[in-house]
C-alpha cells in the first residue's frame, strides 16, 4: 500500500512539474521542425548525491538511450552499487553490478522544436552480486544476556537476480542537447538465487526487496545527446 500511495504522489508531482517545463522556449518560427535522432548518454545523479549525505550507499550508474522512431527509444542502464543495510537485528553489505535494458515510449507532444519527454518504459533487469553479513543479533529471551550483537562477516557469493520494471519519467532539454531527467520505477522480482540461511533483502539495481518481492527506484539523470541526424518524423 505504501508503494501505491507513493506512486500516486509521484505521478501527481510529475504532471505538476511538466506544467512548468511547458513554458520553456516559446519563440515562433514558420518552419517545419525536425526531430533530433541520436545516442543519448548520461549518468545517474541519485547515487553520487546520496553518497554525500549517507556513506552507506556508494554507486554509479550510466544511462543511455537511442531513438528509433518519433516516439520510441531503446534504453539501457548499467551500474554498480555497494550498499549497507542496517536493520534491528542484522547489518549487511550488498555489492554488485547490474544491467537493465528495454524501451521508452514518449507520450509527450512537443511544441515547436522542443525535445522534452514524458515517457513510460519497460525494463528487464539482471544483477550479479554478493551479500556480506556484517553483524547479527540472535532474537531471543533477554533473561541470560542483554541482546548481543555478533560479529560475523560471512560472505555469500555468486548470487543473482532477474526482474521486470515499469518506468515513468520525464526528460527536459535544459541546454542544447543537455537533458535533465527524473524517473520512478516499480519493480517485480522474477527469480533470484538466494544465499543459504540468509535472504536477498537488497539487490543492486532493484534496491530494497519488499516482502511481496516488489521494489522501487528513483533516478535523476544528466545526459547528453550526441545528435546523428534529423528527421521530420
Amino acid at each position: 500500500m505504501h508503494i501505491l500511495k507513493y506512486f500516486i504522489k509521484a505521478v501527481f508531482l510529475l504532471c505538476f512539474s511538466i506544467s512548468f517545463s511547458q513554458g520553456i522556449g516559446s519563440q515562433k518560427k514558420d518552419t517545419i521542425y525536425k526531430n533530433k535522432y541520436g545516442l543519448r548518454v548520461g549518468i545517474d545523479l541519485y547515487n553520487p548525491i546520496y553518497t554525500l549525505i549517507d556513506d552507506d550507499r556508494k554507486g554509479l550508474e550510466l544511462v543511455g538511450d537511442y531513438r528509433i522512431s518519433k516516439k520510441l527509444f531503446v534504453a539501457a542502464e548499467l551500474g554498480y552499487l555497494e550498499n549497507i543495510t542496517d536493520e534491528d537485528f542484522i547489518n549487511f553489505t550488498t555489492n554488485g553490478q547490474y544491467i537493465k535494458a528495454g524501451v521508452d515510449y514518449n507520450a509527450y507532444e512537443n511544441w515547436l522544436n522542443m525535445e522534452n519527454m514524458i515517457y513510460v518504459g519497460i525494463r528487464y533487469g539482471y544483477s550479479s552480486f554478493s551479500q556480506t553479513l556484517n553483524t547479527f543479533t540472535i532474537n531471543n529471551d533477554h533473561f541470560f544476556h542483554s541482546l548481543e550483537t555478533i560479529e560475523n562477516g560471512q560472505k555469500f557469493d555468486n548470487l543473482n537476480a532477474h526482474w521486470a520494471e515499469f518506468v515513468l519519467g520525464i526528460k527536459a532539454e535544459i541546454f542544447n542537447n543537455l537533458y535533465l531527467g527524473f524517473s520512478f520505477s516499480g519493480k517485480k522480482m522474477i527469480s533470484t538465487k538466494q544465499p543459504e540461511n540468509f535472504k536477498n533483502l537488497f539487490v543492486p539495481g532493484f534496491n530494497r526487496v519488499f516482502l511481496n518481492n516488489s521494489g522501487f527506484g528513483i533516478n535523476y539523470t544528466l545526459s547528453y545527446l550526441i545528435p546523428l541526424y534529423k528527421k521530420a518524423k
Binding site: 534491528d88 542484522i90 547479527f136 540472535i138 532474537n139 531471543n140 533473561f143
Partner: protein, 164 residues
C-alpha cells in the same frame, strides 16, 4: 532560466517523498523458542498436575536469578543461546517452611536460523538432553521425566514431561 530553476526544484521535491516509504515490516514471526515443560501426576500419568509454589532459578554471571513464570501445569523457560548448556533450579514448596530443590540440566547444540528482515536470526536447539540432580540430599521431587522431542524448534508443543 527561471522556469528551469522551478523545474529542478520540483524534481528534488519528488525525491523527498522517498523518505516516507521506510520500515513497514515489523517482527511478527516466531523467534527463539522457549523450553516448554509440562507437569504430570506421578500416580496418574495422564493427569496434568501443577507444582505447589514452584520457583525456577538459573545462574547468570555466578548469581542465581529467578525466572518469571506463570505457575501452571505447563511452564516456558529460556535457554541460553550463547552456551550449550542451561541449568535450572526448580523449587517445590512441600509446606510452609520446607521446600525441595532439584536441579535440571539441559544440554543441546545451538543452530542459528535466519527468520527475516525485521526478526533477524533465531536459535533452535538440536539433540537436547535432560539430566535431573538432587540438591541438599533431600531426595528428588521430580520422580521421572519423559522427553517428547529430540529438538526444540518451535513452541507448538511441550518438549518435556515431568512427573511428580
Amino acid at each position: 532560466m527561471k522556469q528551469n530553476k522551478i523545474y529542478i526544484l520540483s524534481l528534488l521535491l519528488i525525491g523527498c517523498l522517498q523518505l516516507s516509504c521506510e520500515r513497514d515490516e515489523i517482527c511478527i514471526d516466531a523467534i527463539t523458542p522457549h523450553l516448554t515443560i509440562r507437569f504430570y501426576d506421578n500416580e496418574d500419568l495422564e493427569t496434568k498436575k501443577s507444582v505447589n509454589g514452584l520457583i525456577v532459578e538459573s545462574e547468570i554471571n555466578g548469581k542465581l536469578d529467578t525466572i518469571k513464570i506463570i505457575p501452571r501445569d505447563s511452564i516456558s523457560l529460556p535457554l541460553n543461546v550463547y552456551e550449550t548448556q542451561t541449568t535450572f533450579i526448580l523449587t517445590k514448596k512441600i509446606d510452609e517452611t520446607i521446600s525441595n530443590k532439584d536441579k535440571l540440566i539441559v544440554t543441546y547444540q545451538v543452530e542459528n536460523v535466519f527468520v527475516g528482515r525485521s526478526c533477524g536470526y533465531k536459535s533452535i536447539f538440536k539433540n537436547v538432553d535432560y539430566t535431573v540432580e538432587d540438591i541438599n540430599s533431600d531426595g528428588l521431587w521430580i520422580k521421572s521425566k519423559e522427553q517428547i522431542s529430540e529438538h526444540i524448534e518451535n513452541e507448538n508443543n511441550a518438549h518435556l514431561k515431568i512427573f511428580h
